[in-house]
Symmetry: C2
Subunit: 205 residues, 2 copies
DNA sequence: GGTAGGATACCTACTGGACGGTATGCGCCC
DNA sequence: GGGCGCATACCGTCCAGTAGGTATCCTACC
């Protein structure tokens, strides 16, 4: 697997361009030509690295896994970490074309079905783990169904992000995220824990 | 505008088939041929009623407006009505292909941008109105930002529905809706009002 | 350290098919 | 009998993917 540095660079260029185009047009409406142009690469180069349009899309979707993998807890408090995760995700959506394309492809449950489920599951698992820690810390209301709460939270964030994109090109995404936590947290965490949380975005990571 | 009955029938057949195909494949991946086949109609008939693929899609999106227009409040309590609206929407998503296609097209912020915003806005306005009534009835926490809450609720329902579709083909949609209300309501309504609500689906409409 | 030779990385031109849309014609209801 | 409603055949375009060639790099042997 001793690849050349140049090869890795073009591969990355293709991935980035593909993520951008997929994000803007969606899978079916995206054309290889536009990806080619934007990457500054020829067809031969692209099809050397990716055997088909679908394989390219799958590689873009994989970007989510990479993002999750590099993410690190930001606080001792699990719930605060969950809130911060939401904001980190929001900022990544605003800044990182790779994640944007990945998210759009995931949301478009289209021809390829399996990997989307994996991507969704990755987020839900992450949230679920944080909720478990919060429960063990005694921060949550007793009797909360963690799996249900994790599914609702990931689903809600998905929808918030989507509606913010359609209605305002994500300009109000951060505010919408704050609004979501304001509404959700009272049903999730106990008052004593709620008092210690910063619902608005915090200064540090 | 005295149209023939037959014409209206084929127009409806085309709309229904289009909604189904758009729902299953998305706008770009949907082909006119498949819509034609499923509607049992020829190209000439379709293009007599709709001048282009885009115009057909817009007509499908309009189905949402029709659904909202026919919907009627189910309870004296505004919040209960809001909850019931969520379940009614969920059932319509499970049963009504027209609404399904319309929702998918709305979610796919694609080539045509304007009407999606209108569709989103229709839902948000409806929720906003119900929240206003709830506030006037003294059911909500004081100081709640109604516009923000309306945006979060519609966004969250959008996302719940979407993740339920991707992960479980909407099989757990009703449960997810119940989970959402369980989490959301404590942050929205005051305890005395919460006690009177039925979060789970009710027997009547 | 120079070069043979194979593998890696990339380029260009092309193809086959599908797709949205149109032109034209024809029967049937009012 | 005229226009509404539909049928059929056709067209130009565009797109994913491929064929086949070329350049660039790495390794190894002398």
């Amino acid at each position: 697997m001793a690849r050349q540095a140049r090869a890795l660079a073009t591969r990355q260029a293709v991935l980035l361009a593909a993520a951008e185009v997929f994000d803007e047009r969606g899978y079916a409406a995206a054309t290889m030509s536009e990806i080619l142009d934007r990457a500054g690469v020829t067809k031969g180069a692209l099809y050397f690295h990716f055997r088909s349009k679908e394989e390219l899309a799958l590689a873009v979707i994989e970007g989510q896994g990479a993002w999750i993998a590099t993410w690190a807890p930001s606080s001792d408090s699990p719930v605060q970490t969950l809130i911060d995760l939401g904001y980190a995700f929001a900022h990544a959506l605003l800044d990182d074309p790779m994640l944007r394309g990945s998210i759009r492809l995931t949301i478009e449950h289209g021809s390829f079905t399996q990997p989307q489920i994996a991507a969704y599951q990755g987020w839900t698992d992450l949230v679920h783990t944080l909720l478990e820690r919060a429960r063990d810390a005694g921060d949550l209301h007793p009797g909360i169904d963690l799996a249900a709460a994790a599914a609702v939270i990931t689903g809600a964030i998905t929808g918030i992000q989507l509606s913010s994109q359609v209605l305002a090109e994500r300009r109000d995404l951060i505010k919408r995220m704050a609004d979501l936590w304001t509404l959700l947290l009272p049903g999730l965490v106990q008052p004593h824990a709620l008092a210690r949380l910063s619902v608005a975005e915090r200064a540090d990571s």
